[in-house]
């Protein structure tokens, strides 16, 4: 099915199941510990061995030699496979650094061997016995600030240029020129990367935790030079991803290499202390924001110049992304400078580009509003745009950003905010209020599904779509239930199996809108099949209460296909009108109250409010969970999360969950989420968009602005920890 024009009213609009607050259908499996996560799938293959990774002790150079004799002789060891045993495995385009093979070391904790043994403890003990000699390459670059100084004046082709930024900025009566930095961040997802691999009759099967089954199937086929049909991936349950599991990672290739070498199934998980440096992270950024405005507050010039780290060949964190479309302004200049460095691989993490970009942009907007003596809400309202500022022909399909701002201000009690930075006390706490806007594009990807009607009127949906804790199982079941007029409990959903139709996967917040559209298409195909059976036109059928109504007759779904299954498969493909004629995006406003201890500078978030504009909300419970999760992650990014770079050794020193701090329960006070009513017919047949990434955008800036409001001290270097402002924090009288 093609989606080539805005959706008309259709069968998914009835709101019987879709749009209703249903608890997750996979919830009981998760809360009882019975959902089969990759590492615990003991039943899928007999005789599983355990592989433990050996990782590089240096960040850049070559391996001179490896001595595996002691490891091989250790108890229980079946095989030791080193990176020297083979050429680099061919890598997919999505991966920047090599995952395994060859002598070259591209980053700290790169996988250089896997020790395979009968038990985990044996493999781990033996892995520590592998001795490696390195030749360190002294020509390595680990310090983003130093690299930026060296490359500040490099001529680069702007990522986007509209009008004449330089002249307009020069001429602007009110100007801001400020530089912000964001650190590397770790996905810190609860479930580590993990895979079990088995080779059987020339087919490689991988039970794994992966957000994008089809991409990674392809990547695996490429790595091992196999035809696609000889590779199967199964990833039904994923304990968090946030982008960490978009691509093939070392767990998968080590398991596959080891399973081939030993002739037995092998499982490999990345131990927590290896994840930060072995896998990917959100890249570091240093961002210069320049905004020029007229006295009345209208933006005339906006410039965003972003510097970020990447291994050779990558793109880094593209923090200029939000600035392209978010606010009005005739003169615009976006510059993106990914500098090639030798830290681990920077790559996608929840709302890549937008998260880091809005951490800077939305603070700059706050600073600008202050310079203009304007309410930051009013400043944003004034600079709203309903068209692409670089191409006014393209309208936003829907943009209710102003409603987000105004509704948020009302619900939060913005008019009662502290208006004098540093001016409000509650006991020893300085109280501050801050807000920010949020923006995230809403792309869609082709997505397929197969729907089966069983003789007993149960429905089975199969797609390789994944649920990374987001609620995909539930909204997919809701879609099928809505389309076929059956209760939610009658729908069984199978996800993450590469034998199923290829879906959009979980990434770029396109999953919910795209995958449900694919299921919608497959359900329409099934309705046609049913119409054929009844000798009716599909359009004349109504599906309700497990029955089909046509003309004056009612036929139960049960038995409509006789004793057999009725099966239909289809795929939604999105036409380019979405991007050519429109800009599709999601919006939010965030309002935050913080307390800052007047003596010690400890920061506590007291309450948070988000108002979101994200098309039709398919399930308010799972959508809310996405947004409060994003808000929590935004608090982490604002106040504590940092992959601390050791610029001498070239690694992230905070590489475990004790030192890479993410928020705990006690850090999160009241969280309120409001979804504006909205249906975006340009987005999908279900008129839905994504919320998972929108939830984190803008949050950190709202926290940062609240901290400024509480203290009167502006910190432009994330995370905002007390050491960065304590010496400027006025002493309590």
């Amino acid at each position: 099915m093609r989606f080539d024009q805005p959706a008309d009213p259709n069968a998914a609009d009835q709101g019987r199941v879709l749009g209703r607050p249903h608890a997750r259908i996979d919830g009981p499996l998760k809360t009882t510990g019975t959902a089969p996560y990759a590492y615990e799938r003991h039943d899928v293959a007999v005789g599983q061995l355990v592989g433990y990774p050996v990782v590089s002790a240096i960040a850049k150079g070559r391996i001179k030699a490896m001595d595996t004799r002691a490891a091989e002789a250790a108890p229980g060891v079946v095989a030791v496979i080193t990176t020297l045993d083979r050429e680099p495995l061919p890598k997919a385009r999505m991966n920047v650094v090599h995952l395994f093979g060859g002598r070259d070391i591209q980053h700290y904790h790169q996988a250089i061997a896997v020790v395979v043994a009968e038990t985990f403890e044996q493999a781990r003990a033996a892995a520590a016995l592998v001795r490696t000699d390195y030749h360190q390459d002294p020509d390595a670059r680990f310090d983003l600030a130093a690299e930026r100084r060296a490359h500040q004046d490099d001529e680069v082709e702007p990522a986007s240029r509209v009008g004449d930024f330089d002249s307009a900025f020069q001429a602007a009566p009110v100007k801001l020129d400020a530089t912000y930095s964001t650190p590397g961040q770790c996905h810190a997802q609860m479930e580590p990367h993990a895979s079990i691999a088995q080779w059987k009759d020339g087919t490689l099967t991988l039970w794994t935790a992966n957000q994008m089954v089809a991409w990674s199937r392809k990547a695996l086929a490429k790595a091992f030079d196999l035809p696609l049909e000889k590779v199967r991936l199964d990833s039904p349950y994923i304990g968090g991803g946030f982008g960490a599991k978009l691509f093939l990672r070392a767990d998968a290739v080590l398991a596959a290499v080891a399973a081939r070498a030993t002739g037995r199934p092998v499982k490999v998980a990345l131990p927590r202390p290896m994840i930060a440096n072995n896998a990917t992270h959100r890249g570091l950024t240093i961002q210069r924001l320049r905004i020029g405005a007229n006295e009345d507050g209208r933006i005339t010039a906006i410039g965003h110049d972003n510097t970020t780290n990447t291994p050779p060949g990558g793109g880094g964190e593209e923090a200029t992304i939000p600035t392209e479309h978010f606010y009005a302004g005739a003169n615009r200049l976006l510059v993106h400078r990914p500098l090639e460095m030798h830290l681990p691989e920077s790559n996608a993490m929840r709302a890549p580009g937008d998260t880091a970009g809005q951490m800077a942009l939305e603070v700059a907007m706050d600073e600008m509003a202050e310079k203009l003596h304007m309410d930051p809400v009013a400043f944003r309202v004034l600079n709203d745009t309903q068209v692409d500022p670089g191409n006014p022909e393209r309208r936003f399909s829907q943009r209710h950003f102003v409603e987000c701002l105004e509704r948020g201000a009302r619900e939060f009690g913005w008019s009662k905010r502290n208006r004098t930075p540093g001016g409000r006390r509650d006991g020893v706490w300085l109280v501050g209020h801050g807000m920010a806007g949020a923006y995230r594009g809403s792309p869609a990807q082709a997505s397929g599904a197969r729907v089966t009607l069983k003789p007993d009127a149960r429905v089975r949906v199969e797609t390789d779509m994944t649920d990374i804790g987001t609620g995909s199982y539930t909204i997919i079941a809701q879609t099928a239930a809505e389309m076929l007029g059956v209760p939610l409990e009658a729908v069984q959903v199978s996800l993450g199996d590469s034998d199923s139709p290829v879906s959009a996967g979980s990434g770029g917040q396109w999953g919910a809108a795209s995958a449900t559209a694919g299921v919608y298409a497959a359900c329409l195909a099934l309705r046609e099949r049913i119409a054929e059976r009844l000798g009716a036109e599909p359009g004349d059928l109504a599906f309700e209460d497990g029955q089909v109504r046509h003309g004056g007759e009612t036929t139960p779904l049960a038995g409509i296909g006789g004793d057999g299954d009725l099966v239909a498969e289809d795929r939604i493909e999105f036409g380019d009108f979405r991007d050519k004629d429109y800009v599709l995006a999601t919006f939010a406003s965030h309002f935050v109250e913080v307390g800052v201890h007047a003596y010690t500078g400890e920061i506590r978030v007291r309450r948070m409010l988000a108002v979101c504009d994200a098309g039709r909300i398919l399930n308010p419970i799972t959508a809310r969970s996405q947004v409060i999760g994003g808000m929590t992650m935004g608090v982490g990014a604002a106040l504590m999360e940092e992959l601390k770079v050791d610029t001498r050794y070239g690694f992230f020193a905070t590489h475990d969950l004790a030192s890479y701090e993410v928020p705990v329960h006690a850090d999160i006070g009241e969280q309120q989420v409001i979804f504006l009513d909205g249906e975006d017919p340009c987005s999908s047949p279900l008129k839905a968009k994504g919320v998972g990434e929108l939830g984190i955008c803008g949050v950190s800036a709202a926290v940062a602005n609240a901290v400024y409001n509480a203290t009167g001290v502006r910190v432009r270097d994330y995370p905002i920890t007390l050491d960065k402002f304590l010496d400027r924090l006025p002493r309590p009288a």
Partner: protein, 316 residues
């Protein structure tokens, strides 16, 4: 983790004897620190002597009006003991400010005192660390040192002792009771128990090889009001940037110790004399000679402001 042999001792003395006579032996109590470090091969004992089940898990009143806390008393139980809550509030407050509920259920009094530093380079065996490998150098001094010591350290090691409990015990004038393989016991003042790194950062306490902690004793209650303020980057489940333990008497005199700033709980009885003059005067004396790094210079200010916060709270 290396393979190890495991022994369940029948008595404290037998445990001490076994540890003294075996190379690379370690006692295991709650295991919350030791096992983590064994998994990453920072600790590589080849023999573990389990000291659970030796009857060292009770809290008893002493003849001089104090308490004797068995070395195996769990942090949770110690914090909840009604006598501790009533008479040694600073200890309860420090304990519950540490780690998490699950960890405190396992963590023991003895193990807490002997927990190792959280220096990131100590925990990464690829990095030079004098504490792990004497003579290797110290990667932290010019590296990620934000969490580390500003005083009492040396050019060989700037690690902090991360315990909260120990800071409270220090203001309470606790003593550590030990036994050796010959059955000899010692009472060591907590002030003398941890040693500064100097040129030998791998030596962290005055315990002899095989010497087992059997108890921690508290003298009669000090009276006064008890405070423990721990400053960290998140609200819970994080180690202190700086912590202040304070026992303040009605006349304005009192006792202060700092955590998070030194290789041991940091207290100087002479500095306490300045308490009536306020936080600035106390900290000036207490942190006299501090040698912070660029990254942890803020701890000097933070210590002073945290003590000021506690003193202000005390006035309310």
């Amino acid at each position: 983790m290396r393979a190890f042999t495991y022994q369940r001792a029948a008595s404290p003395q037998e445990a001490a004897l076994a540890a003294a006579g075996t190379d690379h032996a370690r006692f295991i109590a709650g295991g919350t620190n030791l096992l983590d470090l064994m998994k990453i091969e920072v600790e590589t004992p080849t023999h573990l002597i389990d000291v659970n089940g030796l009857g060292l898990d009770t809290i008893e009143a002493t003849d001089d009006g104090g308490l004797r806390i068995g070395a195996l008393v769990r942090n949770t139980d110690l914090a909840a003991d009604h006598r501790v809550r009533r008479d040694y509030g600073v200890l309860t407050r420090a304990l519950v400010a540490g780690a998490s509920g699950q960890l405190r259920n396992k963590a023991t009094t003895g193990g807490n005192l002997l927990q190792r530093t959280r220096c990131p380079y100590f925990q990464d065996t690829n990095m030079p660390c004098n504490k792990r490998q004497p003579g290797a150098g110290c990667a932290a001094r010019e590296g990620a040192s934000r969490q580390l010591a500003i005083i009492g350290a040396s050019e060989h090691c700037i690690a902090t002792h991360p315990s909260d409990m120990a800071v409270a015990l220090r203001v309470l004038d606790a003593r550590v009771e030990t036994i050796d393989g010959q059955g000899r016991t010692r009472h060591i003042s907590l002030a003398d128990f941890h040693v500064l790194p100097g040129e030998t950062p791998h030596i962290e306490s005055v315990l002899e090889k095989g010497e087992l902690i059997t108890a921690v004793t508290l003298p009669a209650p000090p009276g006064g009001r008890h405070f423990y303020h721990k400053v960290r980057d998140r609200s819970s489940y994080a180690f202190a940037l700086v912590s202040v333990a304070l026992v303040l008497r009605a006349d304005g005199s009192g006792r202060v110790a700092l955590g998070g700033v030194a290789p041991k709980p940091w207290r100087d009885e002479r500095a306490e004399a300045a308490l009536p003059r306020g936080a600035g005067a106390v900290i000036e004396r207490l942190l006299d000679g501090a040698r912070p790094t660029q990254e942890n210079r803020f701890k000097v200010t933070l210590a002073e402001r945290t003590l000021a916060a506690v003193l202000a709270e005390a006035k309310e």
